[in-house]
Amino acid sequence: MRSDNPNVTQSITQVIAASSLGTLIEWYDFYIFGSLAVIIGQQLFPSDAGASALINTLAIFAAGFIVRPFGALVFGRLGDLIGRKYTFLLTLVLMGGSTFLIGLIPSYSSIGYAAPILVLILRLVQGLALGGEYGGAATYVAEHAPVGRRGFFTSWIQTTATLGLFLSLGVIVLTKNLLGAKAFADWGWRIPFLVSILLVGVSIYIRMKMHESPVFTKLKAEGKVSSNPLKESFQKKANFKMVLLALFGATMGQGVVWYTGQFYAQSFLENTCKLDFNESRYILLWAIFFATPFFVLFGSWSDKVGRKWIMLTGMLLGVICYRPIYQYFIDATNVREMEKTSLASTSAPVEERSLAPNGTDSLMTTTVTKTLTNGMTFKEAQTVTLSAEPEVVTPESTIKDVTLSGSAYVIVILLVFFQVLLVTMVYGPIAAFLVELFPTQIRYTSMSLPYHIGNGVFGGLVPFIATLVASFSGSTPLSGLWYPIGIAALSFVIGAVYIDNRVDNSVMD
């Protein structure tokens, strides 16, 4: 199939493939950090930092999201001034370079607090690059897409964020299984970062062969390119009010649904439910694998019935279903209660001694593996501090590496799949929705900002804020969900009242 524009010599399939590959790699680069948050926290911060190491690592992870709107402004402006093609080539180079360098940063034990500071700086570059990438790719594809199929064609770009996450999880699980848990925690976690440079090289080669967007080329030939896209986007009330509407009525709710379903779910299963490292990732991998085609389905459907109600239904279902879903996660992994009535066997204890963080005492950890009658297994570790000073020390007991039994495993996959399905509803049509909202001269700038505030700030802060809220005294493990539920509910109301369901046939104006 070819674009309607006679000046276009590339097929729409080539356009989508080249745009999507680069965007997928950028998402991969961006998400490996989040998927490895626990291990990176152990590498970047003192070994006795405990929960604050995870929160600080999630804060660095979130910093990358927070600067995305600034990347949208810088590169969006560039894209509206010099063109879509060269701008998102630049973002690709910045993203690939910074990801590769994160893989080379020494740990806290080697360079102290310089380690988290350097990673923070590189994480900020990643965020800026991603802020420029997505709007360019979505605009580029939409400006090539034939009339009446814009939702369908841009939905391929929409799959890249989820597939980037899928790829990052796959590379991490594969690397860990090949190297073993200890080598992976020591140095193997760097490999997924270093691999990025190869992927980016391939993508740059492909993108160099692409042509500029036909709509932008026509605009440039007519001398109608905006001289100041930032001023036109945000100082002109008629346009600025649409930026605000896109943010509060669509991208804000879409962002929290995206990051709850695809990030918080995995973080919750691993850190709150104490699910085994691989198992929590396999669950998300299966859920993403089965749900990804729905991006294209909902994108295509939005060409026929409009974008608005598909997106808003996804938000409303999230508001209604999140608490029951996460309550099930807690109940299905509550091994302390289950072992009271259904303990089948306990393995012989394994003892391990290590030096305590204070450098003088030593720690003795005794680990047993328990199996329940329903087939679930988990490890219970008891740590005793052997102090140089004689004192009474109460052993600390922790649960880890829980693995689910057959039926509970399938139900948890289905519940995560349902959350990713909601992601496909809110995210599949949104590129077409945003592209149609703004004129060509300032499209890159105008659509990028609400997209990246919605996803980068509101969405990207979900794991961080939810984990923070759940760490408060008196909170429950479900308390963190009030943040995505509240934001999605607010966005649903604004979207339902103010947004139009009309599909714009022309993006040539």
Partner: protein
């Protein structure tokens, strides 16, 4: 529908400052709890970042509410020439 859009505009204008006040009060409460040793983690920096980020967003919500109250969203543009 237009009357509802305008009425809700007032709600959005009020909601912006209410969110900031709520966040500020939460921050004071949690930071004090950490200082007294009641909370497990000191979250001063985290709260500073959260409030810093949400101030401009809440300002945007107030502007959105103002536009809604003034009827700017009664008719949405159907082509770029209306922008």
């Amino acid at each position: 529908m237009n009357a509802l859009k305008k009425l809700l505009g007032i709600v959005w204008m009020l909601l912006g400052p209410v969110i900031i006040i709520f966040l500020f009060m939460q921050a004071m409460d949690k930071i004090a709890a950490a200082a007294e040793g009641i909370a497990r983690t000191n979250t001063t920096l985290q709260w500073f970042i959260i409030i810093l980020i949400f101030i401009p967003i809440c300002a945007g919500l107030v502007i959105f509410g103002y536009y809604a109250w003034k009827g700017e969203y009664d008719h949405l543009p159907e082509s770029s020439s209306e922008l």
